[in-house]
């Protein structure tokens, strides 16, 4: 199983069409690179970040102004996230443009849509962790929206966001979602996505 997985991710030979930069623009690979950068810079930020209504914002300020290179690491984290949203969306446009969603790749298309949702949720939870007034407003809006879902809404809001205040969206629950659960889910889903690309015939028009 391990050999099957590795050999599909990195086969010895690939289709010539996959070599054309102008066919894929490396957008999927760049999205994964951004994800790796987010992982590395995120771990570095975790050494100093403290979630909480008041500690969230103050620790972000500390990272930006006191910790050596903290500002650069945080900026790298921020810009990688912004660029990842751009590359993921452009990757999706490229896939549609080259009809790369057609059978047998429809399952991988669904995985890609799932990854898009995960990236957006990761971006949102990252915004909440700043702990500013704006993040508090965003968390309050999100909690109220989730509560609109009949039956499950209130529980879902509690599970997803904890109890944010209107002045800070930084809670321990959002922190765990952002730093552990969502990145792990996105990582495994991406590996499956890459494996399926080769399994379904590589990067080439059908």
């Amino acid at each position: 199983m391990k050999d099957n997985f590795v050999n599909h991710l990195r086969p010895r030979f690939i289709s010539d069409r996959a070599l054309s930069v102008y066919y894929t623009f490396c957008l999927g690979g760049l999205s994964f690179l951004a994800f790796l950068m987010l992982g590395i810079t995120g771990i570095l930020l975790m050494f100093h970040y403290q979630p909480g209504t008041s500690s969230g914002f103050s620790s972000v300020l500390t990272i930006g102004s006191v910790i050596p290179y903290g500002s650069v690491i945080r900026n790298l984290h921020y810009w990688s996230a912004q660029l990842m949203v751009v590359t993921v969306n452009l990757h999706m446009v490229r896939v549609v443009w080259t009809h790369s969603y057609k059978p047998p790749k429809q399952l991988n298309w669904l995985v890609g849509v799932g990854l898009l949702v995960l990236v957006l949720v990761l971006d949102f939870t990252g915004y909440l962790l700043i702990g500013s007034q704006e993040s508090g407003a965003a968390a309050t809006v999100a909690a109220n929206l989730l509560k609109q879902i009949p039956g499950l809404g209130t529980a879902l809001a509690q599970i997803a966001l904890g109890e944010p205040t209107a002045l800070s969206g930084s809670t321990l629950i959002v922190y765990v979602w952002h730093c552990v659960a969502l990145p792990l889910a996105a990582f495994w889903l991406q590996l499956y996505h890459f494996w399926r690309i080769r399994r379904d015939g590589g990067v080439r028009p059908l």
């Binding site: 289709s15 914002f57 790298l76 549609v96 057609k102 298309w109 007034q133």
Partner: protein, 123 residues
Amino acid sequence: MARSPINQLKDNEGIAALVFLILCTLLAFKVSSSVGTSNLAPAVPHAAAPWIFGPFQILLLYLPPWLGALMIPALILVGLAVVPWIAHYWGDKWGRGIFSALFSLVLVLLFWFMVKELWWSHL
């Protein structure tokens, strides 16, 4: 089907990765990310969403929450998810058309948000 050793792909990916890393580093050194307003400061009268969620803010501004922030985004996601099956049963033009319509809707909302926020900030 013509095929080549994977090393050539690695070269392409390496160059793209280098360009991406340089761009990220330049942005990180030149443009600082915002920290927003302290929660100890007086309450701000207006909080603009980050650009990625601008379309949500526009929808929430003009539509009831259940429609603007739950039903429409859910329909857009379902529409995206079923593109392969639309293309399979109705033809490629339909698949591409549905995707373009949904993607354009999000782009229009994003553009609307940006114009509104720029206008707002100049008041």
